[in-house]
């Protein structure tokens, strides 16, 4: 025992000392995110809101995203039922993912970095570190659970019962622990930290998809899914403790498994051998374009997925949008454009949100070129016959291409889902959505151009382009509520193009904004081709 766990308490103490800031942010941020939306939901539930929401969430597409509810009739769909139904699965997922990253960061990652080697050279047990990390995560998740429960109770809202609040909090805490133990097991099995993280997140994703299937087809099967043990507690309605018990047993078994696996392996080794890569490069990699595609590939794919999912999420609301919007004063005010169909009005706003999201990706790609430059990745490439114009325009080209595809995916995802759930009542066709999306393409090009300009002249300020995007988005989003002077709201680029499909297409603005964006890119190039490369900054 001593050989295995000696001085784990010392390591735990060290971790708490090292991580206390992170712990506070973790608990407070996730706590607020999990429990803080009660007032917003009270607002939504007003009038016919809860009933509208109930109808909306009966849609299989929605069930596959947020999970089922035990409530059988709309009248029983109380505030608590609605809150648990819509929030619990996602909050649980967040808790899980953060715990996963934390556990692997303190176990396998430290092993890869060589920190473990140093620690092990002292009188520290072979598995003391794992024990210390698990204790830390347990501590954090218990506090998180209590924090959430107390916060929920403190709102003193109807149907948010004390029992329900504690079950809600405990479900999120246990979700964190499930993530932590899966991560600990895979940290032993995989050959390094990044594949441990990747496979753990992959398994969680798989569990999520499996539960989407079982929830829609036969939700009795979801109880066999570790992810099911979080939201199937049904806080505020059934208040079922049993899934939490399953989860606890699961966690204990997994920890034992992890310790056995860890005890039997060498430090730095895993059970799955390191996968061998390619000894030679594929032809597709052997160019600046190929290289940039390769290094941005992961980012691009994950953002593309996010666009489709976000589009589908918003699109699924269309089914019962009318009911939902009419029962909500705040929403009503935002969409109160007289004489225009609610769908068209809603679409123009949601499209703005979607396309603002799309605009993040090209900024990421353009800023990436500077990251590569300053972190010395390109040193050896600068010394070849690859010109700066090649580096710059390949990046800009990639950014523009991803903008175009991104708009298609976002608008297509939104429109496709919306039309599916609206069925024959749809007043809009898929092409209306796609056109409305591309109507906003110049706004994406504009921020891309802005990022290019910054890259050429003040590359260290790349992050400010995101700030502009956020500013612009916020201004636009709240424009309807706050009565702002026109010139002020025009500082947001999204306020320039026509609000399609509500308004007619404005070709002049479309072309002007596009031209300005292109000019930005060209001016950016003049800077980029002339300035010193900033290495190691």
């Amino acid at each position: 025992m001593k050989e295995k766990f000696a001085r784990w308490e010392l390591l735990l103490f060290q971790y708490v000392k090292r991580d206390w800031k992170k712990m506070i942010v973790w608990i407070v941020a996730l706590g607020f995110f999990s429990a803080g939306f009660i007032p917003a939901f009270q607002e939504i539930a007003k009038g016919q809101g809860a009933i509208g929401m109930y109808e909306t969430l009966q849609n299989p597409a929605m069930i596959s995203m947020v999970g089922p509810t035990p409530v059988e009739t709309a009248i029983n769909y109380t505030l608590g039922a609605m809150y648990a139904h819509e929030m619990l699965l996602f909050c649980g997922l967040f808790a899980m993912i953060i715990s996963v990253l934390h556990v692997i960061g303190h176990t396998r990652k430290e092993e890869d970095l060589g920190l473990t080697e140093l620690v092990r050279s002292f009188q520290v047990g072979r598995q003391a570190n794992s024990l210390a990390v698990m204790m830390e995560v347990l501590f954090i998740n218990v506090i998180l659970s209590l924090f959430i429960a107390v916060m929920l109770i403190s709102f003193d809202a109807p149907t948010i019962t004390v029992t329900g609040s504690f079950i809600f909090g405990a479900s999120i805490g246990i979700a964190g622990m499930i993530g932590a133990v899966i991560a600990l097991v895979l940290a032993q099995v995989m050959p390094n930290s990044s594949s441990s993280t990747g496979s753990t997140l992959g398994i969680i994703g798989l569990l999520y998809i499996i539960r989407a299937g079982t929830d829609v087809s036969n939700d009795a099967l979801s109880i066999f899914n570790p992810l099911g043990w979080t939201y199937l507690t049904y806080p505020f309605t059934s208040n079922d403790w049993l899934p939490l018990v399953y989860a606890l047993i699961f966690c204990m078994v997994m920890v034992v498994v992890a310790f056995i696996l860890e005890g039997a392996r060498d430090m730095g080794a895993g059970y799955i051998p390191q996968r061998e890569g390619r000894a030679t490069a594929k032809k597709s990699l052997l160019s600046v374009r190929g290289l940039f595609m390769k290094i941005n590939q992961g980012t691009i794919i994950s953002w593309f997925c996010a666009f489709v999912i976000m589009g589908a999420a918003y699109g699924s609301i269309y089914g019962d949008m009318q009911k939902f919007l009419e029962s909500n004063d705040l929403m009503k005010q935002m969409f109160s454009s007289t004489g225009i169909s609610m769908e068209a009005s809603f679409t123009s706003t949601i499209m703005m949100v979607m396309i603002s999201l799309v605009a993040i990706l090209p900024i990421v790609i353009v800023n990436k070129l500077f990251v590569e430059e300053s972190r010395l990745y390109l040193s050896q490439i600068f010394a070849t016959k690859v010109s700066r114009s090649q580096l710059y325009w390949t990046t800009i080209g990639l950014a523009v291409l991803t903008s175009i595809v991104g708009v298609l995916l976002a608008a297509g995802g939104l429109g496709g889902t919306a039309i599916m759930v609206m069925g024959e009542n749809s007043g809009l066709s898929l092409s209306d959505f796609i056109i409305a999306g591309y109507n906003l393409l110049p706004t994406v090009l504009f921020v891309t151009g802005l990022a290019a300009l910054v890259l050429g002249w003040m590359p260290k300020l790349g992050k400010f382009v995101y700030l502009y995007l956020i500013y612009s988005f916020m201004l636009n989003y709240f424009e309807g509520i706050l009565d702002l002077p026109k010139w002020f709201s025009k500082t947001a680029i999204q306020n320039w193009p026509a609000q399609m499909p509500m308004e007619d297409f404005d070709g002049t603005v479309f072309i002007t904004v596009t031209m300005v964006s292109i000019i930005f890119m060209i001016i950016g190039y003049l800077g980029y081709s002339r300035r010193d490369m900033i290495e190691g900054a």
Partner: protein, 293 residues
């Protein structure tokens, strides 16, 4: 036109910081030039100017007679470069990165590549994120040595390599030197330059303080001599050209000016020499002398 690299009075400022005051040196065709200076003295900055990564504020900087800023792409066709800190994309394998660099350079040799991978004992199938510093350095070196260039620029090339691999590197550099290529070898590790370089350029705080062939530079300094005599060695202290004399029994260790060597030896023979050792100045001595002042 035998000058491959021609740098005259180059200056560079970063904001208020004057990184290069006055850098002047040349690399002739077929010459190996050791570019020596401590960290932060301006070695890498000079190299970045030569590569057209940053723009000089004043002075002339040419490679193959072409301006390094305006005609950088023409120049890059015929040079190979290994940075001091080789940073690689973690999700690509060493083999993939080598292939990429060779392709981007233009004229690669597949056989040479495979030969060098074997020589440097690199596992090309591993993802770069699992490479140690030494292995990343190998990737850079293999890519640079696999292509055919006229000028090779190495910035602290052996940092992170173990002594065996350092030996391999030295041998490979000797081969390209024998093939008549020019090499600019920047380093603060003196021994690696001492063995290969025909000429030494010493930089200090952005200024070239000494340049010349190694033997010439050695004339400027003193040899270290150790003598054991039958008579009293203390008598040596009076001779001009003897410095820093340390006596221990009948053994004396001192540094001697080369032009007074004859007088010193004449005196020593009168005392009856039992043991004599002379060590030529190492670069370390050269170096120290420049940094003492």
């Amino acid at each position: 036109m035998s000058e491959v690299v021609n740098v005259q009075g180059v200056q560079k400022k970063f904001g208020k910081f004057q990184a290069l005051h006055d850098v002047t040196f040349t690399v002739e065709k077929g010459e190996v030039v050791g570019f020596i200076g401590p960290n932060g003295s301006g070695k890498s900055t000079t190299i970045r100017v030569l590569l057209g990564i940053i723009k000089r504020d004043a002075g002339i900087a040419e490679i193959f007679g072409k301006d390094v800023w305006k005609e950088s792409l023409d120049i890059h066709n015929r040079i190979s470069y290994v940075p001091g800190d080789v940073v690689l994309w973690g999700n690509l394998t060493g083999g993939e990165i080598i292939d990429l660099f060779i392709k981007l350079h233009g004229s690669g040799d597949k056989e040479k590549r495979d030969y060098l991978i074997k020589r440097f004992e690199l596992d090309p199938k591993k993802k770069a994120k699992s490479y140690s510093k030494g292995n990343r350095q190998k990737v850079g070196l293999i890519a640079a040595l696999s292509v055919d260039s006229d000028l090779y620029i190495f910035d602290e090339p052996t940092s992170g390599l173990d002594p065996l691999m350092e030996q391999v590197f030295q041998e490979e550099v000797e081969k390209i030197k024998a093939a008549g290529k020019s090499i600019l070898l920047s380093s603060h590790i003196l021994s690696e330059v001492e063995r290969l370089a025909d000429k030494i350029v010493i930089i200090r705080q952005g200024e070239i303080v000494e340049a010349g062939n190694l033997n010439e530079l050695r004339h400027l300094t003193r040899s270290t001599i150790t003598l054991v005599t039958e008579g009293d060695v203390a008598e040596l202290a009076t001779i001009t050209g003897v410095h820093d004399l340390v006596e221990k029994d009948n053994q004396a260790t001192f540094s001697a000016d080369n032009e007074h060597l004859n007088d010193i030896l004449l005196k020593a023979t009168q005392l009856g020499v039992k043991k004599f050792e002379a060590v030529p100045p190492t670069l370390a001595d050269l170096f120290m002398r420049h940094y003492e002042s």
